[in-house]
Symmetry: C2
Subunit: 232 residues, 2 copies
């Protein structure tokens, strides 16, 4: 018996789920797009079962909406969810960054420094997709360093809605420098143990993420929920 070296090739369900999720967050599958178990199964070369089970997971995350006997659709962006995601992140990240100012492991500190360096390179290259990932990683490292990784994961579920609108914003607008400078300032404050400063900058930083939301809703109205419950 060879020990399999933790390779453990992923299940069909997992690969399908990851792929669909990525496409939805990238807006390759735009909000409102109709999906179908059969079509996805043909495209991805698997049977309906793993596709269907991925739909169940995505539906629970609020990324798709399953209407029995009618169809499955990529959820429209709900501005209320976006705002509440920001609300959650604001209060939890303020708390976490205060913890970080009190105590933060050296290893994670170095990870933040490395991350910032990579951010700078991504900005110079104009690689927005990569910068987006690094931004996520930056905040994740902060939570991890404070022993609050599960909290970050819990935020994740709401965060996908925030991120879809942020992705939309990246297309038109781009103020990456400002974003980078805030990350830099937060890291310095953590190093200095200046909790008040860190908390204040973090709050501003997260406010930035929903700026111009109204503008986006005006520009891409078909991607947002207008009235009641968000059915296409």
């Amino acid at each position: 018996m060879y020990t399999n070296g933790r390779a453990q090739e992923p299940s069909a369900r997992e690969t399908v789920y990851v792929k669909l999720r990525e496409q939805i967050l990238n807006l390759e599958l735009a909000p409102g797009t109709a999906l179908s178990e059969k079509e996805s199964s043909l495209v991805l070369g698997v049977s309906r079962t793993p596709v269907r089970e991925s739909f169940v997971r995505l539906a629970q995350e609020g990324l798709v909406q399953v209407l029995p006997q009618r169809g499955t659709f990529v959820s429209l962006i709900d501005p209320a969810l976006v705002e509440e995601a920001r609300f959650m992140r604001e209060h939890l990240e303020r708390a976490v960054v205060r913890l970080a100012c009190a105590h933060f492991p050296d290893g994670h500190l170095h990870a933040l420094e490395d991350n910032l360096a990579l951010q700078l390179m991504s900005i110079e290259r104009g690689d927005d997709r990569r910068l987006f990932e690094l931004d996520e990683a930056y905040h994740r490292i902060l939570f991890d360093g404070c022993g609050k990784l599960n909290t970050w994961r819990a935020i994740g579920q709401m965060n996908v809605h925030l991120n879809r609108s942020r992705m939309l914003r990246l297309v038109a607008d781009r103020q990456w420098r400002h974003l980078y400078e805030q990350h830099e300032t937060i890291l310095l404050a953590v190093k200095d143990g200046d909790a008040d400063r860190a908390e204040r900058v973090m709050q501003e930083h997260l406010l930035l993420s929903v700026r111009d939301l109204a503008h986006l809703m005006d520009k891409y109205p078909q991607y947002f929920i207008t009235g009641g419950d968000g059915k296409p």
Copy 2:
């Protein structure tokens, strides 16, 4: 054609999911218990498909753990998750109760009053299960009144882990009066708009929910994760 009055009888998957979830939270299905698609399908009188899809949902919530080709098990309680759930609730509920002190709809205020009255009756009857539900509803009303219902739902996913340990605690210990008095104090503070007081009591209130966690881990060690990753 009769309009069906929004009855829309629930799917097999939904009923199975709700039933299993309830049993896990009630500890009727104790942490570590082995499940199986086939057995559950026989017990619940449906085919394996809806059971399997329920397992997918429960696994995503962290309530069960699916080991491919080996079995499905009710997750052990992870003390780190319990503590982080408390952490999330502490910071988010402090923020929400401050909002409530600034502005809170009359309708929701009345709902809180009614809820408190019912709590008192449940305490007199010694109906702990009902009191537990009312406690959940109380906090839910607070979030709803502040337009943060989605935030409450997001907390819910972490909350299930906190609630399993709270349920365990209900069995041995019981200090319902204290719980009720805190709820009462918070309501009064919201009425008076005394944000500082409301926030302070809320923090104490949530600390109560993890008191004696170490004691519980000592008393029911088989229900908790000890070392690494929580596999039974």
